[in-house]
């Protein structure tokens, strides 16, 4: 029998506070299990967000002991060596209540970065053949597995300091699309990520890379966008 965990959870909105609960420790327990235990057995008014519980949907990210993490795949044993957990909502996003943040700014920036596929063909055309070993497709593969969890966005101090900054996830998405041979977003997308708050605001802190649960490297993707937009700017294809 393992002992109890001392768990501090953020309660309330922006001006809330931490409240501490005792939760029985179990083998192979995840942080999401802990939060769920509090909601089911201690306080049913606790608000938090999750869906798949297996690291696919990207909805359960929270701040765990000072770091943004996907809670469903974060084992308590790995992050709470001292038997203490402090769980709060993600940073850099408005708090709705308790552990739930408003993800709207995050997704609006995906739109601003034109992180949307711009098709070049219709259903009547033949399916385009993409070689998996082509250089462009390899760049896409390296960055495509984003689950929109917002961990990188919460970890990024450039987001914190610059309200306009599109953030690592949106820019990484723009990068994968720019490398997609079937996509027609091209110049317009490069223009969109070159305005104030675009890829050039990145300081390469690399917190995104360090904390991405999918082990993606947004800093490298953003560096790619910096090179490509610089070339486009110098050729006069985009304007500042």
């Amino acid at each position: 029998m393992l002992g109890d965990l001392s768990v501090s959870l953020w309660r309330g909105g922006e001006d809330g506070r931490y409240e501490t609960y005792n939760v029985p420790q179990r083998a192979s327990q995840t942080v999401l299990d802990v939060v769920t235990f509090v909601q089911r057995h201690i306080d049913p008014t606790l608000s938090y967000r999750f869906a798949c519980r297996v690291g696919v949907c990207g909805s359960c990210a929270m701040t765990v002991n000072g770091r943004p993490r996907w809670t469903c795949r974060t084992h308590v044993a790995k992050v709470a060596g001292s038997g203490r957990l402090e769980i709060g909502p993600l940073e850099n996003l408005p708090v709705i209540k308790d552990l739930t943040t408003d993800m709207q700014p995050f997704f609006e920036k995906w739109q601003q970065a034109q992180g949307v596929f711009a098709p070049t063909k219709t259903r009547h055309d033949e399916i385009e053949q993409i070689r998996p070993d082509s250089p462009a497709r390899r760049l896409v593969d390296a960055a495509i597995e984003c689950i929109n969890c917002g961990v990188c966005y919460a970890a990024c101090d450039t987001v914190r300091w610059n309200a306009d900054y599109l953030g690592p996830a949106a820019l990484t998405r723009a990068w994968t699309l720019d490398n997609d041979e079937r996509d027609a977003g091209g110049t317009a997308r490069l223009q969109a990520v070159s305005a104030a708050g675009g890829c050039h605001a990145c300081h390469s802190h690399q917190s995104c890379q360090e904390l991405c649960p999918q082990a993606l490297n947004p800093t490298a993707a953003i560096a790619g966008l910096k090179r490509r937009t610089t070339a486009a700017y110098l050729k006069g294809e985009i304007k500042a």
Binding site: W10, E14, G16, T63, N65, G66, R67, E86, G88, P89, E91, V95, A155, D157, H203, S204, H205, Q206, S207, E210, L211, N217, T219, A220, A223, K226, R227
Partner: protein
């Protein structure tokens, strides 16, 4: 907003970016003073010479060592940023950042050892 320790801020690369910014800021503040000092030569060599003798004080020399460190660390840190942004991705960024700081400290130390 929520008062809480942001732990990833302690990471070597976050500190490297902070050092880069602070060294750049300090150099930007120092530059006008540097230019004003050299501008003393407009009124003749003697004016510049008397200023240079003022800088012989140990405390000023020590500060000059600090400036050499700031210049070197901003240069090497900046080269690291240019490499990240313009070349293919290389791992080992933390080691590179630490190396940049260490080399800068050595340069500043040699400078101090020579002027004292």
């Amino acid at each position: 907003m929520i008062a809480r320790a942001i732990k990833h801020r302690g990471s070597a690369l976050w500190i490297a970016a902070l050092v880069h910014r602070l060294s750049g800021l300090a150099l930007a503040i120092f530059l006008p003073l540097h230019f004003l000092a050299l501008g003393l030569a407009i009124d003749g060599e003697a004016k510049l010479e008397s200023f240079l003798r003022w800088t012989d004080q140990p405390l000023v020399k020590f500060a000059e060592g600090g400036l050499v460190f700031l210049l070197a660390v901003h240069l090497l840190g900046g080269l690291r940023v240019l490499v990240i942004e313009n070349l293919d991705w290389h791992d080992g960024q933390k080691q590179l950042a630490t190396l940049a700081a260490a080399v800068s400290a050595i340069i500043a130390f040699i400078f101090l050892a020579r002027v004292f």
